[in-house]
């Protein structure tokens, strides 16, 4: 075929792509989005199918049969759980305006710089083999198409005089620059790009199906015929996954492709970042696997037909999609297949290079420039051109890296083998992301450790050996290990043998990665912002969470300067539109000289995030209001202080409650003290009167006797009797005071024994018998003679009965007094009741009559007022006997004094 035709068609195709992208953007600007539907979204995810699928799968199938399939079954499995994983990632990307996988990981672990850079580096290096695969396939297919003269022995043309792959790389770099970096978006959606990629997915699908139909129904008469003929030619080993039941690589490839559909940088970019609407996923979840199924139906037939057509010749099986139509004279079909392959390769290269250049710019170069103060934010100037320059420079570098890998290692490998190296690199992101989605405890140091270790193991066990096999490193690096150390052999690390290279690399890298991530995360402390971001990511569905952590921004930046800052990254016009839209939503008017509040600052950060990634946006806003922003640590500190204050005030509350209680007690004590005080006053006046009365009479009669010439003997006798009686009274009083004092001080000598109650009561009554008779009082006895003994001091018990009866004598009616003494078993032992027929005790006095020095004012006029100690002494004595004494009024209104003493055991 004419080289000029092929080149012309290629460029025409790229031109169409460009037109579609342009049209898509125009439509978006008019608000009639082309891409905002689930079918376009599904087709854009189909960027997963690259020339690996288009050419490589057939090559793989021609060699090893059905084991090309896990690469497509894995994604299908992932979409089974789309509602758990994918939708959560998409939601997070929307809420946090994530621009790339590096942005995602760095944002998850506290907007961590180092992590973003590391992810970027891994992504760039890891994608390099994949890009080289695309370059190789384009160049090979191009050369093949124009140089294919002899169906039996194809030769490869060289129309440019230099390496076609390099030409392809340069052309694609230019195309990607034109395509993806025309201006900086303040939104993370690129409608034109999505539209073009969706178109490419259609082209490659139809191209592949066309070849498949031609082979199956044109060359052969259907599947049955094809398989039958292949069997006749002994190709049955292609009908199975593994002829010898070795499924190690099948499992490995399934796992790898599951990771790849989520974490390949371009895949993450297309399915998560460019997603317009979460509900699109509902369709894509089954439509995308269906796309994969359909595009794979004819892989085996094409492979078989290639094997049959080129039996015995050393034909590159990776190119059967092209060479089979050519072999059967279908050059137009071959051209269409070439365009399909071109579309598969260009879609991957374009998306990957744009996604990677965004990461390089946002997560690697800009943070470094900001850190090294090479970009002065305080000066004016359009920074969006700087961003564009960084991206434009990084795209050719990324493609040249891919070309470099092609030169070093790709030529000797098949397409699938090269691609799997990249898949393994992408799988390194799985622990940090899956862990970050479901586990709040993951820390940035953990993610850094895991990623670094996994990446190093990947380098050592997959990338470096591929260099060695191409002769760029000594070959004994593989056979003997590094420095000849056997357990450092890259394909049998630490002596682990019996696995294929891929499974071996995946096992060790995941072992190091997951191990490092989990162990370091568990051992370390989370910083506040890691904790906050962890919560934001893990609990992204929780509507109560703020949608942004930037509420902590506090600064004195004016709205005008903030808008100007944002404008320098996204363009003044876009910035102004954004600010106005925000103001319209919030219902306030923008005044340039006003201070931006924290919500506006957060909004500005969000706008910047869409253009330059969340970590860099945070740094920029942070440096803008430096010295004035409240850092997370400070917020936490404040929170701590507040907590302390709350704690302190709670303690104060407790204390004040205690104080209140104490003061209440104090008040009560004070009241009692006052009562005691007044009792003491009463006592003093009583006691002095009590003492003075007998003293006065003693003194008076003494003086009479002293002068006593006129006193008769009889009178003298009478006076001496009075003096003696008064002295006895005085002595009794003083004895009682002393007794009471002794009892209260616990210095009383008690002689406890078993005492018979009846005889004791009778003995006491005998002692007061004279007094009773003197006052003509009728004594009624009601004693239970069969009572058991009580545990008491005999003399003191007698004293109690005497005191109580004396009291009754004082307060009963005069004349006609009746006193009743009864004894019987009570609830707590011996119960003695002594009642009189007096006027009783006022209820308010009942509690007081047993107090010291209490004297009832209602005592009979005829009777001397008591000392006020008798009942107090009784209470002391009965308490000592562990009994009880109380006062009450009887049915006839007289007082009843009762006491109980426990029986002896």
């Amino acid at each position: 075929m004419q080289g000029g035709v092929v080149v012309g068609v290629s460029f025409a195709y790229l031109g169409i792509l460009f037109a579609i992208a342009y049209y898509g953007e125009k439509r978006a600007e008019q608000g009639r989005s082309l891409t905002n539907n689930p079918y376009i979204y599904t087709l854009s995810i189909a960027v997963y199918c690259t020339s690996w699928t288009f050419y490589g799968s057939v090559g793989r199938a021609a060699k090893t049969g059905l084991d090309f399939l896990p690469i497509y079954l894995g994604p299908t499995l992932v979409f089974v759980v789309w509602s758990m994983v994918l939708i959560k990632i998409i939601r997070i990307c929307k809420v946090h305006r994530i621009t790339s996988i590096a942005d995602f990981i760095s944002s998850r672990y506290g907007k961590n710089f180092a992590l973003g850079s590391l992810v970027t580096i891994i992504a760039v290096i890891g994608t390099t083999p994949y890009i080289s695969l695309q370059l190789k396939s384009i160049a090979t297919s191009f050369n093949l198409l124009i140089g294919f003269q002899n169906p039996e022995l194809p030769i490869y043309g060289n129309p440019f005089g230099i390496d076609t792959t390099l030409v392809v790389a340069i052309a694609l770099a230019l195309f990607a620059i034109l395509f993806g970096t025309r201006h900086i978006e303040s939104s993370e959606h690129h409608e034109g790009l999505v539209a073009a990629i969706a178109f490419e997915s259609l082209v490659k699908l139809f191209a592949f199906l066309a070849v498949g139909f031609f082979v199956t129904f044109g060359v052969f008469s259907g599947f049955g015929d094809l398989f039958y003929q292949a069997q006749a030619h002994g190709l049955t080993q292609l009908y199975v996954v593994s002829a010898d039941n070795d499924y190690g690589q099948w499992i490995t490839m399934t796992l790898l492709s599951m990771a790849a559909i989520l974490f390949l940088p371009r895949q993450f970019y297309m399915s998560a970042v460019e997603n317009r609407d979460e509900t699109h996923l509902r369709t894509a979840a089954w439509l995308f696997p269906l796309y994969l199924l359909v595009i794979n139906v004819f892989v085996l037939p094409i492979a078989i037909s290639g094997k049959l057509a080129f039996a015995g010749t050393a034909n590159d099986a990776d190119m059967f999609v092209l060479t089979v139509p050519i072999h059967y004279g279908q050059s137009e079909l071959a051209l269409f297949a070439y365009i399909g392959g071109l579309s598969a390769a260009t879609s991957m290269v374009i998306v990957a290079s744009i996604a990677l250049s965004t990461m390089v710019c946002n997560n690697l170069v800009m943070p470094l420039l900001l850190r090294w103060k090479l970009v002065n934010l305080s000066e004016s100037g359009d920074l969006s051109s700087l961003l564009l320059t960084i991206r434009r420079v990084s795209i050719p570098i990324i493609l040249l890296l891919g070309y470099g890998y092609f030169r070093i290692a790709s030529e000797s490998y098949s397409l699938v083998t090269i691609g799997l190296v990249s898949f393994t690199a992408a799988a390194q992101f799985a622990p940090a992301i899956i862990g970050g989605l479901f586990w709040r405890g993951g820390s940035s140091t953990g993610a850094l450790t895991g990623l670094s270790l996994g990446f190093l193991v990947w380098l050592y066990t997959l990338l470096l050996p591929s260099f060695a096999q191409s002769g760029w490193l000594p070959l004994n690096f593989i056979s003997d290990g590094l420095f000849g150390i056997a357990w450092l052999k890259p394909y049998a690390l630490f002596g682990l043998e019996g696995f294929d290279n891929l499974s071996h690399a995946l096992f060790w890298s995941m072992f190091a990665n997951i191990g490092g991530y989990v162990v370091v995360s568990l051992r370390g402390e989370l910083s506040p912002i890691e904790r906050i971001q962890g919560r934001h990511f893990v609990d992204v569905y929780d509507d109560t969470l703020g949608q942004n952590d930037s509420r902590s921004w506090q600064g004195s930046v004016t709205i005008a300067s903030l808008q100007e800052l944002v404008g320098r990254f996204v363009g003044p016009e876009r910035a102004q539109n954004g600010f106005l839209a925000y103001a319209a939503r919030q219902n306030f008017t923008l005044k340039g000289d006003e201070i931006a509040d924290s919500n506006l600052l957060a909004n500005a950060e969000s706008m910047l995030s869409g253009a330059i990634g969340s970590a860099t946006a945070r740094v920029i806003i942070g440096s803008m209001i430096k010295g004035e922003n409240v850092s997370m640590n400070e917020v936490y500190q404040l929170l701590d202080e507040t907590t302390q204050v709350i704690e302190y005030s709670r303690m104060l509350e407790v204390k004040s409650a205690e104080l209140e209680e104490t003061s209440l007690k104090l008040q009560q004590a004070n009241k009692r003290l006052k009562e005691f005080d007044s009792l003491k006053d009463d006592f003093l006046s009583t006691i002095s009167r009590e003492l003075r009365t007998p003293l006065t009479s003693i003194r008076a009669f003494g003086e009479i006797l002293l002068e006593g010439q006129n006193t008769s003997d009889k009178e003298r006798q009478q006076f001496l009797g009075i003096i003696t009686k008064e002295s006895e009274r005085l002595t009794r009083l003083i004895d009682q005071i002393l007794d009471l004092a002794k009892m209260e001080a616990g210095r009383m000598d008690w002689s406890m024994s078993n005492v018979d109650p009846t005889s004791t009561i009778e003995e006491a009554l005998a002692a007061v018998d004279g007094l009773i008779k003197e006052h003509n009082i009728k004594l009624i006895l009601d004693l239970d003679k069969s009572l058991p003994a009580v545990r008491a001091d005999h003399d003191q018990l007698v004293q109690v009965v005497i005191n109580v009866v004396s009291n009754a004598i004082k307060f009963c009616n005069h004349p006609g007094g009746i006193i009743r003494v009864s004894s019987r078993p009570g609830d707590n032992g011996l119960l003695v009741e002594i009642s009189d027929n007096g006027s009783g005790i006022l209820p308010e006095h009942r509690d007081f009559i047993f107090e010291k020095f209490h004297q009832s004012r209602r005592g009979s006029n005829q009777m001397p007022i008591g000392t006020g100690l008798g009942l107090a002494i009784c209470r002391q004595i009965i308490s000592f006997f562990e009994g009880n004494i109380w006062a009450d009024n009887g049915e006839d209104g007289g007082a009843v004094i009762s006491f109980e003493v426990p029986f002896a055991r």
């Binding site: 959606h189 696997p289 954004g578 969000s606």
Partner: protein
Amino acid sequence: MFCGAILVLLPPFISIYDKADFIFGVPQAFIVIYGIWAFIILAIALGARRRSMRKTPAETALSPISDKGDS
């Protein structure tokens, strides 16, 4: 569903049907794997139709600026 799919697609299950025998003129492994695959897709489609989506995040004060006219 996910576990079931993994189970039938990975060893030891796969070795049951991974044979070169012919069914309906087509190799057994080929038709079984594609059949399982199609079945899984059908199941996802049915599941996705039924499953109620979680609410999309409410437009809040902090939501991004309008996408219209930006790209």
